[in-house]
Subunit: 361 residues, 3 copies
Amino acid sequence: MFPRNCWYVAAMSHEIAPGAVISRMICDVPMAIFRSLDGTMSILLDRCPHRLYPLSEGTVEAHGLRCAYHGLVFAGDGGCREIPSQSEIPANACVTAYPARESHGLIWVWPGDAALAASTPLPAFETGEGYLSGLDFSCLDPSDLWGVAGPHVIHVDANYMLAVDNLLDLTHTAFVHAKTFDNAGVLDSTRIVKATGEQQLIDFFGFKNSMSAPLRNGYILDEGVPLFDNYLETYWQAPGVMILVHGAVAEGGDRERDGAIVLNTNILTPATERSCHYFWAQSVYRNRGDGKVRDLWEVMTKAAFAEDEHTLQRQQANLERFGASSLADDVSLILKADKAIVLARRMVSRMVRGEEAAKAA
Amino acid sequence: MFPRNCWYVAAMSHEIAPGAVISRMICDVPMAIFRSLDGTMSILLDRCPHRLYPLSEGTVEAHGLRCAYHGLVFAGDGGCREIPSQSEIPANACVTAYPARESHGLIWVWPGDAALAASTPLPAFETGEGYLSGLDFSCLDPSDLWGVAGPHVIHVDANYMLAVDNLLDLTHTAFVHAKTFDNAGVLDSTRIVKATGEQQLIDFFGFKNSMSAPLRNGYILDEGVPLFDNYLETYWQAPGVMILVHGAVAEGGDRERDGAIVLNTNILTPATERSCHYFWAQSVYRNRGDGKVRDLWEVMTKAAFAEDEHTLQRQQANLERFGASSLADDVSLILKADKAIVLARRMVSRMVRGEEAAKAA
Amino acid sequence: MFPRNCWYVAAMSHEIAPGAVISRMICDVPMAIFRSLDGTMSILLDRCPHRLYPLSEGTVEAHGLRCAYHGLVFAGDGGCREIPSQSEIPANACVTAYPARESHGLIWVWPGDAALAASTPLPAFETGEGYLSGLDFSCLDPSDLWGVAGPHVIHVDANYMLAVDNLLDLTHTAFVHAKTFDNAGVLDSTRIVKATGEQQLIDFFGFKNSMSAPLRNGYILDEGVPLFDNYLETYWQAPGVMILVHGAVAEGGDRERDGAIVLNTNILTPATERSCHYFWAQSVYRNRGDGKVRDLWEVMTKAAFAEDEHTLQRQQANLERFGASSLADDVSLILKADKAIVLARRMVSRMVRGEEAAKAA
């Protein structure tokens, strides 16, 4: 199960040009996402009310999305604007429209109760000075302040919470990413997990690192530096929105003045119970390295996230081999490193139970 | 659900040469269809009673179909004629045989109560003079009277009634076949739908058309003719047997004397709840155009029916994405253009309910 | 259903080198089978207790199998030896270990109640003099006494009892293997089926044969010999362990002195209800023919067992087309040739019912 009364990223702006339409499964709901010729985004249930044909097979025209089967046209608000075989439009000729927003290159959708969407802001973390200014996802806008690799999307055959788990216990990087990120030092971290609200937490790892290229290049550290301070700080908002602030600096140096800082956006959207969309980007603070560092993070992260994709899919497949479809019930052995996972899963469960209670009432 | 006490087309004569056997799913029943060396067609349940092996894997011999596993031989009546490992043939050594008929190049099967088959004639429409003489499917026999493209079969991953719907609302041709049949004029038709019996109806479209090649070539109309009379008249018999009489003539001309007339046989047979066999042919009246017109209809119809196949499969897939397996319950928005569909579905539902009531009694 | 309190072959020794690990489904249980660097075999449930990741994705190290996700290490007894992210190892940090034995090149596993494994010897048949000395599976050890083709494994998409049935009614060879083994004479056999214990039986076929190459070459018979004595004697132990003693000798000759004798090991292990592992070997007695005869049996058996694989998979698929998953309920027509099958299925059913009764008690 997943909460429905929240904003999920449905797509990236660059996926849908004016006049384009795509089909995407969001929270078990097939949606047709399209952009009008003047640029407005709309998201409709991907099913014509007439013969239940997928609207995403249709074409975007001036007054809406035209169904490819019998030519009915629906506007972004779900209302029917034309029925080619008759002049009257019946009152029930309409399709569900989902609240949609576009911001910082991401298209967000609200799959739940539409009445609640208007009063709920898009997810964002409290911002601060310097690199913390990017925590409202403005770090996704390329500028002098941010060199941006992405955003990209991976469609993963695994429950979205397995991907959240993965990001909320970064000790996995010592094993899954031994050949890419190469930071076994994470196992000896100072670790701080703290809830920062009913649906937010921060998960901090600080450790000494001595690894060689390529991560060292990503942090613009001289080969001569024997040991450096490495940190990984994940800002999480339920259920699947994260920015991982990471960086390194020569031992004892000043994080911002002497080191490299990168904001790694990771956003998970449920497709079905057993699949999800994984949106990510790496934003290099102050765009250091004139694009080369950004490109390096692009290449390195693609390689590493392919490892995550493999891992998550094998984990999902194993859960299914054993007849379970998720780890939601926490039947597993809990380690100290799972502290953030346990906390996050409790917050998400509370959201789901809250929605169920509201429905039952 | 589908009616079982009726004749369905199982195969085309040319698919099964003497000595050949094929497996085909008809109404959720796997059947082995074979032709003896002397030409007789037989249809058996595709399951040897011994170890339940598919008989369609076997070989046709002089006295019947020999199972490929332990060599038992079954005659066309389902009786066992030989058991290689023993001399006695037990009384229960038999397999269900289905009533089968062959006519005008089609092989028909009766999947329901065999006792009712004998008294039920093969489907055919009332014939008349001229081009109406072909309505008993004699239009499938190539002759001076009929230039025949087909019959052909398409195996479609969609419920057979979705294909029936498709043919009983030809307004779809303006959209699905915009690039092949190119007859948007159908949207402004004079439309007459009338029941002609408990299990038959006629669905007539008459309209003015001005489209260019290739449809114009199919109707052998001069380029100089600015506007012509186009008609599409579907004869339907429940649940899935249709002949679409179509043609065109220069405005105000005589349909038979001055125009081209084509009979388009369309027969849908359920394979499973989510798949069907679509048999079709185009028969050019008086074989006009010396075979060239027939060939043109063959090519044009193949292209157009590939569009239908795509459409039907996408529609079926969408129904399944939303958890429904058919449109039988008519949860959809009903338009005026759906008049024939609604009438036909009611007739088919009545047949199914009748069979259920007879079983319960 | 399959019995669980018995030894099944899980793999062949040569499949798992020191330091190797494979995943294999045995009786619906995913197992990780690995060999330590010093050669010890261990079999664990293929699921890390932490995040339920498949252990078979991991690596074999000095002190056990390391999970590829967060690096936990498990010894062959299922106990956790290391958790990289913390120093303490909780008491519940363990995984199910299955009793495992290795003998004559086969790795056996006990998927049921581990307490019963210690007191149950590995399957073997009573041995005797000469070629009967190999019936304890020592015929799988290449030596002067045995020229061994195999062992090999085929992963078959069919219930394991369909494969047992196949081997307990060798009349199928006249049809399925008409082109490979070419021994239609089996249909006129002297046939003796006798139970030799609660879970063992012997199934004997003796017949005259006159077939040509290649089977004649396998039995080292001169072309000039017009007719010879052929025998097929299957030793079966429930549920899926068999040795088929087969051979031929010129009519009236002495089986051991003048003929060729081959022991064909056939062992079936359930993977799931609809798939199994089929381990086989051919052991040529006294290694006659200097390896050429052994090679001939290797090639001929591979070709013939590919025919069996096809047959079993088509049979399974047909059972599923008709909504059944096995023939366990014996809904089929029983012939005289099915005597051994009926007897064997009864013995296996008794085992399953016994286990169910023990569980309920």
